[in-house]
Amino acid sequence: MSSLLLVCAIILAIGTYAFRVLGLVVSARVELGEKWENLMGTAAIFLIAGVLITSTFLQDDTFAGMARILGVTVAGIALACRVRLIAAIVIAVMVTALARLAGIQ
């Protein structure tokens, strides 16, 4: 593990704590500005969308295989049916593992 990775991990921890404390100390009068806040929120959503796609379809920059896609799809349907997150995760993991057991990669 590289020292750059370690430094980035430490900055992530400090930065996240700083966000929490920033929220605690800023008064209602000193707001970040609605427009800026909205843009940050939207950018975060779109970044999550990108991570969803790459983490579903790719493994080591090549196609991750149908087993994972199958698991995530079934879990997505479960989430849409208001199943709890942890139950949806268990469903995804089981479907993916069973698919691989059945020979689907």
């Binding site: 980035c8 430490i10 992530l12 996240t16 975060a44 969308a49 790459t54 790719l58 920059d61 993916t96």
Partner: protein
């Protein structure tokens, strides 16, 4: 993990039952997180340590998954920090409830999706502080514990054979769930994801995941 996801759980079974349910869920996700880390060569201590230090669940998983995908740690850091900016409004929402002594700064670290949802479901400031502290401590214990258990498992069995690689995308999906039905965002989000999928044929994952950002200008904000 979505705050609204947890908010719904507070209505069932009372606070202590909900806190136990959150702890169990966080433990389960922690196992997937820890197994993902060690089965890709991270040392056993890394996932639990990052979990305690950051304590925002999906963020640690995203950082680790991005590094595994080959993203430079600096880009992974910036992306994860962007996701974590939501802790500013979280902190703001309980700024009057965390007390006025030095422990306030310790309690601040416990602010995350789940603890805020539990706190905001209470009516008095005192009850909010108690709910936030209890939920936060439950997560502070179960998240790294799950990561450690998963980490040990990941050293012996490949996370892929257990299907654990599908856990992380589902967490991302749950974060998106509420927003994909937003009529303003839906179109650009879907096009953006399609763009990322097409781009991933040629681009490495570390670049393809940024493709949806290019579709933000598609959002029509002129609501009249």
């Amino acid at each position: 993990m979505g705050a609204n996801e947890r908010a719904s759980s507070t209505s069932e079974g009372g606070p202590s039952g909900s806190i136990a349910a959150i702890g169990g869920a966080v433990f389960g996700v922690g196992v997937a997180y820890g197994a993902m880390a060690t089965s890709h060569g991270f040392p056993l201590w890394f996932a639990p340590a990052l979990g305690v230090a950051v304590l925002a669940a999906s963020a640690e998983m995203m950082f680790t998954a991005m590094v595994i995908a080959g993203t430079s740690p600096i880009l992974a850091l910036l992306s994860t920090l962007l996701i974590n900016t939501r802790h500013v409004p979280y902190g703001f929402s309980v700024s009057h409830d965390l007390g006025h002594d030095g422990r306030k700064w310790l309690r601040a670290h416990l602010v995350n999706d789940e603890s805020i949802a539990m706190a905001l479901a209470q009516s008095s400031g005192r009850a909010r502080r108690r709910a936030l502290t209890r939920t936060g401590i439950a997560i502070l214990v179960t998240w790294p514990l799950g990561a450690a258990v998963g980490g040990v498992v990941g050293q012996f069995v490949s996370a892929a054979s257990l299907g654990l690689d599908s856990a992380f995308p589902v967490i991302m999906l749950s974060l998106l769930k509420t927003r994909v039905f937003d009529p303003e965002l839906r179109g650009p989000l879907i096009v953006g994801m399609g763009g990322a999928l097409v781009a991933s044929i040629w681009l490495p994952a570390q670049l393809a995941l940024f493709v949806p950002l290019a579709f933000i200008p598609m959002i029509r904000t002129d609501r009249t």
